[in-house]
């Protein structure tokens, strides 16, 4: 059984986000990129399935040079094959375009399962996994928390999350695309030394862009959201903040 995992490089939202001069994109050089969190979980789920079913896992990384690091990490964690899909920075986050770039290669390789994060941090469109499933004419379920497969590879059972910590169980015929919300266990840790080692011997297949690529819409304007900050900020060090908080809580009869 062959499983593909798509790993997208997205802005690290814990770091400062700098808006580019065009006012509608992020300043490429000033923003830190990391692998999209849901995609990390998708890789973990794929590796769990590999252990259960002796599947072959292909990591498909999308982005610039940082995507190569994501591939080395994926291989160090246990992925069997590494594919790089170079995407110019101005098209990052355009999942319509990405689905159209990826689908020919995904189709010809004949994967039973394609996993990626149900959404990406920089997304404003329909999202990659659902669009990709449509290109490939296969079923799609998103918000997936666990996957189990029939040994013959014809069918999978997923737990999909719904509000109120409720789970929906669904049987899906394969091949299929699943949008992973979180894996059955936290993404595994791999020591830096193993990543460095993997990087040295990494064999990357670079995917050429197909001739017909369709792009999606773009934001007309991008702004930071904290302009209308409402919180009254408490000044001072931890001790001073603690004193003010106790006063606030006491005034409301809480402490």
């Amino acid at each position: 059984m062959k499983i593909a995992v798509i790993l997208r490089q997205v802005p690290d939202v814990v770091e400062e986000l700098v808006i580019a001069e065009d006012g509608r994109s992020l300043a490429e050089d000033e923003v830190m990129h990391i692998t999209n969190e849901g995609d990390e979980h998708a890789l973990e789920e794929a590796l769990i399935l590999k252990a259960r079913h002796a599947a072959r896992v292909t990591a498909v990384a999308v982005g610039g040079d940082d995507a190569k690091d994501a591939l080395a990490t994926a291989v160090a964690k246990g992925a069997d094959e590494a594919i790089l899909v170079p995407i110019p920075s101005e098209h990052r986050g355009d999942n319509v375009r990405l689905a159209s770039v990826l689908s020919p290669a995904m189709k010809s390789a004949g994967y039973s399962l394609i996993l990626t994060g149900v959404w990406a941090a920089d997304q404003v469109d329909a999202g990659l996994p659902g669009l990709l499933a449509m290109h490939l004419s296969v079923p799609y379920v998103g918000g997936v928390m666990s996957v189990s497969l029939e040994p013959d590879g014809t069918k999978g059972t997923v737990c999909k999350e719904f509000p109120g910590s409720r789970l929906g169980v669904m049987e899906v015929s394969l091949p299929a695309v699943f949008g992973i919300q979180s894996a059955e266990q936290p993404p595994r840790y791999v020591p830096v030394s193993r990543v460095v080692q993997a990087k040295r011997t990494l064999q990357v297949i670079e995917l050429a862009e197909p001739p017909q690529v369709v792009g999606g819409m773009r934001a007309a304007k991008l702004t930071k959201s904290s302009a209308a900050a409402r919180a009254e900020m408490l000044p001072g060090d931890a001790k001073h903040v603690a004193e003010q908080l106790v006063r606030i809580l006491r005034e409301r009869g809480i402490a």
Partner: protein
């Protein structure tokens, strides 16, 4: 001139409309009212009865009835919706930015050849353009997206419009239709719902909540937060990353897919305030947020905030609360 059409795809569970449905109707009405458009609430269900006679803020309610539409099966919805929407020919289709809506966005966007805009928190018409405000990058950025001609699909974030405005005094015309095409066979079979095990505390019923975010860093650090919660007479809850690490049970998760809470106090520690979390707690009476990042979006909704290190703050705060209680 025939008024332009907005179609709201309703979400429901157990015969009841979800809050997001009323919020989407409120958003649709706001836009429709300003430009004289027409709103249809589209309900896909196996039984239309529970939805009859509801005074929804819509010009029309259409229930599409089919035995396969009893559960939120994404394949069944994706089979029925494109044909229906082609018939109704709307300018705008509104879905929830929810576990149901996210499964439909791809199929509808691709199937109808229309852009789908997710993370929508604001919606209006400017002349002939539809202007959508969306949040991205964990709520840190806001995008303005403009769409001229053609069909647009938007996914509305829960909590973006007032639920109360999704109902009004009159009952709109009600129509029952059968599915426009054979729904079966389907590639996805909905088996069952698994309800959460509630052997743990029910955070929805606790008046004082201390919330642990990613900033808690390790499971060991949770002990101190737990002690603080206990001292306040409350309980500890968390954001998704903390629960995904297995540090707390899933029943303690607050947010889109977890619990929706409205405590008297919500003390958010190391919580960034991503929309998928805040939609589960923004109705709290008093929100206090501590996060080292001054740009963290949690400060947009908190009443009080501080940018000190919460791991340094918590032991001092615990001590001071004990002192304050002792001095009473």
């Amino acid at each position: 001139m025939i008024p332009r059409e907005i179609v709201v795809v309703a979400e429901h569970m157990g015969g009841e409309l979800n809050d997001i449905t009323l919020e989407m109707l409120a958003g649709a009405h706001e836009l429709a009212y300003s430009v004289g458009w027409h709103v249809t609430c589209l309900i896909l269900a196996d039984d239309p009865k529970p939805f009859q006679g509801l005074s929804l803020t819509a010009d029309k309610v259409i229930v599409v009835k089919d035995s396969s539409l009893g559960a939120p099966n994404p394949a069944a919805y994706a089979r029925v919706l494109p044909r229906l929407l082609k018939d109704l020919a709307p300018r705008l289709v509104i879905l929830g930015n929810t576990s149901i809506g996210i499964d439909l966005a791809g199929p509808l966007s691709y199937g109808l050849g229309a852009p789908a805009i997710s993370g929508c928190v604001g919606l209006r018409a400017e002349g002939d353009r539809i202007v959508v405000t969306s949040r991205l990058c964990g709520g840190k950025l806001v995008a303005r997206i403009e769409q001229g001609e053609g069909l647009v699909i938007v996914l509305v974030m829960p909590g973006s419009f007032h639920r109360e405005l999704g109902m009004r005094d009159e009952i709109p015309p009600f129509e029952i239709r059968s599915a426009p095409a054979a729904v079966k066979p389907l590639s996805v079979r909905f088996v069952e719902f698994i309800e959460p095990k509630m052997e743990d505390v029910d955070v929805r019923k606790i008046p004082f909540l201390v919330a642990a975010g990613r900033g808690v860093q390790s499971k060991d650090n949770l002990a101190e937060l737990e002690a603080l919660a206990r001292e306040l007479g409350g309980a500890l809850c968390a954001t998704r990353p903390v629960v995904d690490q297995g540090w707390l049970p899933r029943t303690r998760q607050v947010g889109r897919s977890g619990m929706t809470v409205k405590p008297r106090l919500y003390l958010a520690l190391g919580v960034s305030g991503a929309p998928e979390h805040t939609e589960g707690m923004n109705g709290s009476e008093l929100i206090i947020a501590v996060n080292k990042d001054p740009e963290a979006p949690i400060f947009d909704i908190a009443h009080y905030g501080a940018t000190v290190d919460m791991l340094e703050l918590v032991p001092i705060l615990l001590e001071k609360i004990k002192e304050a209680k002792g001095g009473r």
